[in-house]
């Protein structure tokens, strides 16, 4: 790596400081600590580094992808990255100095607005780490609001999210979780009714759920609210191009993984945690918020606001410890939504819906394969296979296809179940290739 100053310049700087040897600046460090040896491989220059990292990348063998389960492959218009990787966005810090950060601040405000529009919710924060951690924070907020440390969750919640909830609350803030079971792919409303009889702070609804099925959100929302609990909805943002919105069925909180909005899959990270809620709960919201205000000349401008919720002000009494968020991923989402607009987003959603129904139909006509559930779905569905799903995945991987996600990893009784996802990125030819490989099993 380069030196910002020459040897001579550094010597001059030392002289100004009034010392001769740079090691004098480290005199506070006990000398035995300074004996450490660092065993690192030889340093690479830019040219060799590029070759080396490219060679590593070449060891990955990406597959024609039919897996979803939380991270989705969607088309990303070139303008998204062209704009978000401009140095002025990429190399700026958190916009604490508002006058030096109006670009980032306005983008955050526009992101919050676009997400609120898409979700029909009243407030969105500037972003959280990912969908699962956003959910964990909303669960905590709900418990604070209700003063109850019990939360019901749908058995159809993504198992990764369940894991994260367990990690976040097991033995820390002592929140108890109870699962509401599924019946034929969607929530068992009778079970929900029964479990709502004992006080719960909230119910966590996932729609589409992990198995791809759409839930009866309207009815569920009524049940939850009649029983004095809050509704936390976990949704797929792309699906909202055509599907009913969390706001329309009166969600109190709605969270999501926003990677699908203009962000690459990147082996699962960085993601984008979308966090929205009703206005009345804004003070329980974690993370940054950007608002409009005026300057001394009366100009409209943007500034981080309601910071009294945050760790750098409130320390141990903060709503959350979050500091760095996913600003650049949120910017990607904003640019993506701006490029697509309401019509483009509806088109993407329709393409997903159409292709998923075509693929589902084609798969169910392959001998030995059938659809697991007869419920409405968006772009993901479960297929019963004649052999363990793991074997289907291995066999198709050899032919260059990622057939889906093995549900046996989640639940042993589902070892023959394959979770399949298709988006607008797949052509009819891709579908035919997938089907012919399935036939060959």
């Amino acid at each position: 790596m380069f030196d910002a100053s020459s040897k001579e310049t550094k010597a001059a700087m030392l002289k100004e400081i009034g010392i001769e040897n740079i090691e004098e600046l480290f005199k506070d460090i006990p000398s035995n600590l300074k004996q450490a040896k660092f065993n690192l491989p030889a340093a690479l220059d830019e040219q060799d580094l590029t070759k080396y990292i490219k060679a590593l990348a070449a060891k990955n063998k990406p597959l024609l992808n039919f897996a979803g389960a939380g991270i989705y492959e969607h088309f990303i218009p070139a303008a998204v990255n062209a704009l978000s990787t401009r140095g002025e966005f990429l190399t700026a810090y958190t916009p604490y100095q508002a006058q030096a950060s109006q670009g980032t601040l306005q983008a955050i405000y526009e992101y919050q607005s676009s997400i609120c529009a898409l979700f029909d919710m009243e407030v969105s924060n500037a972003s959280h780490y990912d969908g699962a951690t956003a959910l964990a924070e909303s669960v905590y907020a709900a418990c604070q609001i209700k003063g109850i440390n019990k939360v019901l969750i749908s058995a159809g919640l993504n198992p990764q999210y369940k894991q994260v909830l367990k990690t976040y609350f097991n033995g820390t803030r002592e929140i108890k979780f109870e699962e509401v079971s599924l019946k034929e792919g969607t929530l068992d409303l009778q079970d929900l009714k029964n479990k709502l009889q004992t006080p719960s702070a909230a119910f966590v609804l996932a729609t589409p759920n992990f198995f791809g099925c759409l839930e009866e959100s309207e009815e569920i929302s009524k049940l939850v609210h009649v029983n004095n609990a809050l509704l936390i909805s976990v949704v797929n943002p792309i699906s909202l191009g055509i599907l009913e919105t969390p706001g329309s069925y009166d969600s109190d909180f709605a969270v999501a993984e926003g990677q699908c909005l203009g962000n690459a899959m990147n082996f699962g990270g960085p993601g984008l945690g979308i966090f929205t809620c009703k206005k009345q709960y804004v003070r329980y919201m974690p993370g940054r918020l950007c608002g409009i205000t005026k300057d001394d000349k009366g100009n409209r401008c943007f500034v981080l606001t309601l910071q009294a919720r945050e760790q750098h002000i409130r320390r141990e009494r903060a709503a959350s410890n979050i500091c760095s968020n996913q600003a650049l991923c949120a910017l990607n989402a904003l640019i993506y939504l701006s490029l697509l607009g309401p019509k483009g987003l509806k088109e993407v959603a329709l393409l997903n819906l159409e292709k998923a129904h075509n693929l589902a139909k084609e798969i169910s006509q392959v001998k030995g394969f059938s659809l697991a559930y007869q419920k409405p779905f968006f772009n993901e569905f479960v297929v019963n296979c004649p052999i363990p799903a793991k074997q289907v995945i291995n066999k198709l991987a050899k032919k260059g296809i990622l057939a889906g996600v093995d549900l046996g990893q989640v639940d042993k009784s589902l070892k023959n179940s394959l979770l399949v996802c298709i988006t607008e990125t797949k052509t009819q030819a891709d579908i035919e290739r997938f089907i012919s490989c399935l036939r060959g099993i």
């Binding site: 790596m1 310049t9 939380g70 966005f89 409009i292 409209r300 903060a318 410890n321």
Partner: protein, 471 residues
């Protein structure tokens, strides 16, 4: 001033998909959206011009010196941007079978090897998304480690700690015990002894601390912490001062996090994403989150099940795009040159400190590490750190971190980093001197700064009183 993008809506389209059929009848009406979302309707060109214009309203590292204390705004070579977006990395689904993801898994594994090499800590997780998320992971590890000792309910945090430290401890259900620093801005051993005991689960130290000083008594501190049966956590946000010179394990650190977006060169992206790798000493490795990469000599695989692990702190395996940058960065150093990061960072900070001595004295008048915490001289009672910060924007410099650490009145926390040249520092020093002179002549001019930025003094009270958070 730029209009909002929604105000530019003109019914145009940015991206169009061909061959779309209205198949909404595949679903029952009750599942369908009733009204289209109020999103911009503009062309691609409108979008490009809008965001290009927005970007130009920002100060950023590529355009301005950005001496934000504690944030380590160093230059990040452009090659890493290219490498992390190689299609074979970026287009990989996280549930791709290990056989097809060997390149990414090998990179993660080798990165962990490098982290072991520079810290001496034996095992690492790359799952946490940010420094604070790493702290959270570390505190959960401490909680699990002390599972059989239910009395260990406290985490000790010095008053110089980042705000995230106490917030983290509280999130994990610990009681936060704050301790005051001594007159030299360091942990007061007597104070520490008073609160350390059978209730202590962990002590969280930022090293060097947020006053930009090295804890001279670190070996004594770690001895005391361990004698009390507690763990020592190192907030590695300031590792830039020590990298390549000192191994945290030698200081007695049990758990630490490194902000990959600070020390190991990933751009800050206007607030994120970052990554907060967490390392632990031998004996704690089984508690690390799931998703670590294993290597059997031939094949790399992911560890997705383990009874002792604290579980998962986020979905999937971590912010891999950030990890790729951090790995690329570390590969540009060897064991000898690595320490130059710290040497040059510390040299730059001390140069600024000494050159500004007669204008903005360091609060603790001694050699500092990678950042110097300056303050307003006593004979300038009308001058405030805020005015200096805002006036610097007029003069073409991003402001330092101000009013932090809390123990320093009118704090101006300057972290130049190792990637800035002497010329840049000299320019900044001159600007600071100019402000000092201006303060003597016309304080009201400074009070109303900035004057040259597009936006003047901002009404923050209005923003909070009548929150307008969306269009």
């Amino acid at each position: 001033m730029e209009k909002l993008i929604i105000e530019k809506s003109n019914g145009a389209r940015g991206v169009i998909f061909n061959g779309v059929k209205d198949v909404s009848s595949l679903l029952d009406k009750k599942h369908l959206r009733k009204q289209e979302p109020n999103l911009p309707q503009v062309s691609e060109f409108d979008v490009v011009r809008h965001f290009t214009n927005l970007s130009r309203l920002n100060f950023c590292l590529d355009t301005h010196f950005y001496p934000l204390g504690s944030c380590t705004m160093k230059y990040n070579p452009k090659s890493y941007d290219v490498l992390c977006s190689l299609e074979n990395f970026s287009c990989l689904h996280p549930l791709t079978p290990a056989t097809n993801a060997q390149g990414t898994l090998e990179l993660i594994y080798k990165f962990e090897e490098l982290l072991k090499g520079i810290t001496g800590l034996s095992s690492w997780t790359l799952q946490p998304s940010a420094g604070a998320h790493g702290e959270f992971t570390g505190a959960l590890i401490a909680k699990t480690y002390h599972k059989k000792d239910k009395n260990r309910t406290e985490i000790i945090v010095p008053d110089t700690a980042h705000g995230t430290n106490p917030a983290t401890a509280a999130m994990c259900g610990f009681k936060v015990v704050n301790i005051k620093s001594n007159a030299h801005g360091r942990v007061d051993l007597e104070e520490l002894k008073k609160v350390l005991g059978p209730k202590t689960a962990m002590v969280m130290l930022t090293l060097p601390n947020t006053a930009g000083l090295f804890e001279r008594d670190i070996l004594e501190i770690s001895k005391l912490v361990h004698a009390a049966g507690a763990l020592l956590y190192m907030d590695g946000a300031n590792l830039n001062a020590l990298i390549g010179l000192v191994k945290p394990v030698d200081m007695g650190v049990d758990i630490m996090h490194i902000n990959l977006h600070k020390t190991l060169a990933a751009p800050h992206g206007g607030g994120g994403p970052g990554a907060g790798a967490v390392g632990v000493r031998k004996g704690l490795e089984e508690l690390l989150p799931l998703g670590r990469v294993l290597f059997d000599g031939q094949k790399y695989t992911l560890l997705t099940k383990s009874k002792k692990s604290i579980g998962q702190v986020k979905s999937f395996w971590g912010n891999i795009a950030i990890v790729i940058r951090a790995y690329a960065y570390l590969r540009q150093f060897d064991g000898k040159t690595l320490g130059n990061i710290a040497r040059n960072a510390v040299l730059n900070a001390n140069y600024v400190r000494v050159k500004l001595k007669n204008y903005f004295p360091a609060f603790f008048d001694e050699v500092c590490m990678h950042e110097c915490v300056l303050t307003i001289a006593k004979d300038m009672p009308n001058l405030k750190a805020l005015y200096v910060a805002k006036r610097l924007l007029d003069l073409g410099y991003h402001a330092p971190t101000i009013y932090f650490p809390l123990i320093v009145p009118q704090a101006l926390m300057v972290e130049p980093t190792e990637t800035e040249s002497k010329q840049t520092l000299d320019g900044f020093i001159e600007a600071m001197k100019q402000i000092f002179e201006e303060a003597k002549k016309d304080i009201s001019m400074l009070e109303h700064a900035p004057h040259k930025t597009e936006i003047g003094v901002i009404d923050e009270v209005l923003a909070a009183r009548e929150p307008n958070l969306k269009w």
